[in-house]
């Protein structure tokens, strides 16, 4: 689109005014700048809770719910808060081990909780949240201006040429203009539409997430009014676009400390399968099989997001129903950046961490409600196993084995 615009530039610059390509250029650079800013800034990721905090929260929840209920999965945890007269439910995030602040949501693609979560934009390749919403808005606004600008001047170009040489000749002279006009025309509809939508969201202080779910009604006097809105459009806009930006809460340049040195992973299926065998030999218990099942199911289910990388070292304390087995070295750590604070991965085995990814994956697995049945999977072809291990198996299988043994030793020393 821009290249054919560049081709029409000389003609337009000469014919009308040289300001046209200049303005076009400025707009283009502004668009690219805001795009890069949106893509590369932290949307407002909430770092995961430290193990102590997670343990403390768990304890409080257990006290609140009575003793831990039986069953494979603990009950969903919510807390209610009254904000500005509205009751808002705060959900507990199993992956991040926190109660999500209001308006925050867990992005499955980024695998992080994001404050004031708007949506995950695939064009930008990042979540849009509290910290980068204004950049995103400026990006789409400037892009809509740019698209309209280009469309207008491509049409002008063709018209001016056709005044000289006739319409068909004009099209022959600059064939790219046709393509450009078509592309621009469709872009205008979609981008301008999107800008309009986000302008509406900003003026009513809602997020895309809330709007899609229909959380707040717009009509006055209704019961579920938006508690975050400041009342008038102007204030809402100012706050969204010119309000203070909080600094990033994550350390994006820090190194993730591995728990144990990871030797290079074997890349063949056979070794992986062999390792799986040794693991299942080691864990005999029902619960272990259950958790294996769960992970296999999850691995077999086509998930949209990229597969997480694992640290093999997270273990449970015994006592968590169904999940608290020492052999859940299948539990997963956090994926690669944007990652939370480094110390999370350095924990010694005596932690209370629920199987992060397992639950998370399980959570997602349950929502779309497409479940390959467990026995079928577990009857398990080596293929399924090795695929699982491929998912799991960035770390070497030997080290998995080693770590689970180590974990057992540590647990026994409690």
């Amino acid at each position: 689109m821009n290249s054919s615009y560049l081709l029409s530039c000389p003609y337009l610059a000469v014919k009308i005014t040289p300001a046209i390509p200049v303005v076009g250029g400025i707009l283009f650079f502004f668009v690219m700048g805001t795009l890069l800013r949106t893509s590369f800034s932290d949307p407002g990721v909430l770092p995961r809770a430290t193990p102590d905090e997670a343990a403390d929260l768990e304890r409080q929840i257990d006290i609140a719910n009575g003793t831990s209920s039986g069953g494979y999965r603990p009950p969903p945890r919510t807390k209610e808060v009254i904000i500005n007269g509205q009751t808002v439910k705060l959900k507990y995030c199993f992956t991040c081990k926190i109660f999500r602040p209001p308006r925050a949501s867990h992005c499955s693609l980024c695998d992080n909780c994001v404050e004031r979560f708007d949506h995950h934009c695939p064009w930008v390749g990042n979540c849009v949240g509290k910290r980068n919403y204004r950049f995103f808005y400026m990006f789409i606004l400037s892009l809509s201006f740019l698209t309209v600008f280009i469309l207008a001047f491509v049409i002008t170009h063709v018209i001016l040429r056709s005044q000289q040489t006739g319409f068909l000749n004009a099209l022959k002279d600059s064939p790219a203009s046709v393509l450009e006009a078509v592309v621009c025309f469709f872009s205008v509809w979609s981008i301008v539409g999107l800008s309009g939508f986000h302008t509406y969201l900003i003026s009513s202080n809602q997020t895309t997430n809330e709007d899609i779910k229909g959380s707040w009604s717009n009509k006055r006097g209704k019961e579920n009014y938006n508690p975050y809105s400041y009342g008038n459009i102007f204030t809402n806009c100012c706050v969204a676009l010119c309000g203070p930006i909080s600094p990033s809460l994550i350390d994006r340049r820090g190194y993730i400390q591995p728990d144990t040195p990871q030797p290079t992973a074997p890349s063949n299926g056979i070794a992986a399968y062999g390792a799986t065998q040794s693991q299942s030999d080691m864990c005999d218990q029902d619960q272990c099989i259950q958790s294996t099942k769960f992970v296999l199911q999850a691995a077999a289910t086509p998930l949209l997001q990229s597969e997480p990388s694992l640290t093999s070292d997270e273990l449970h304390l015994p006592g968590k129903p169904g999940l608290g087995t020492p052999c859940a070295s299948l539990t997963l750590g956090q994926p690669t950046p944007p990652s939370s604070m480094p110390n999370l991965t350095t924990e010694a085995a005596l932690t209370d961490i629920l199987p992060l990814k397992e639950e998370h994956v399980g959570h997602q697995f349950l929502t779309p409600e497409e479940a390959p049945s467990p026995p079928r999977l577990l009857a398990g072809s080596p293929l399924a196993h090795s695929r699982t291990m491929h998912v799991l198996g960035l770390a070497s299988q030997d080290s998995l084995h080693e770590d689970s043994v180590r974990g057992l030793v540590k647990l026994s020393s409690v």
Partner: protein
């Protein structure tokens, strides 16, 4: 992480040194977490409810005053008004390059907060064997009090050996 300023006063140096000791031995400490209070929306506020674990360590009033002061600092940081709009517009006009030269208002207040916390630790909490951690080190989720083992007292420990309290 808080950096230590050069201390002129000897007594201050003593407390700073003590603070370092406290941080190192904080791995053997009981931790008390004060969670966020969302009743006013998404602004950063911490609950002023007095946790029962601190009952024997600190007076209720001191605790409440500390938390309330922290809350007021955060409110100041997130305040929306003329100056924040001006800063936002100026930043936008300069394509955010201005943040290479100056800090945002929020960052300035965060620095103030960490100075305040260090002061409070030195004056009030360290003598009582407590250590307050800066919420910004915990992702603004909690304010945590570390009750460090004092000589001659026994505390139930739920902390983990080897954890670095600075992180």
């Amino acid at each position: 992480m808080t950096q230590y300023r050069p201390q002129e006063d000897l007594s201050k140096r003593f407390w700073v040194h003590n603070l370092q000791e406290l941080r190192r031995s904080a791995s053997l400490a009981t931790k008390v977490f004060i969670q966020r209070d969302y009743s006013d929306g998404t602004i950063c506020q911490f609950q002023t409810k007095f946790p029962p674990e601190l009952d024997s360590r600190i007076e209720r009033q001191l605790f409440e005053e500390t938390v309330k002061t922290l809350n007021s600092f955060y409110a100041e940081a997130e305040k929306i008004g003329g100056s924040s709009y001006l800063e936002g517009c100026l930043a936008c006009a300069t394509a955010y390059f201005i943040f290479l030269c100056m800090e945002t208002h929020y960052e300035k207040v965060l620095k103030k907060i960490s100075r305040y916390i260090q002061e409070q630790n030195e004056k009030i909490f360290a003598p009582r064997g407590l250590l307050l951690t800066d919420p910004v080190e915990r992702g603004m989720r909690v304010v945590s009090f570390l009750a460090v083992l004092c000589e001659g007292t026994e505390l139930l420990t739920s902390g983990l050996p080897g954890e670095d309290p600075q992180k």
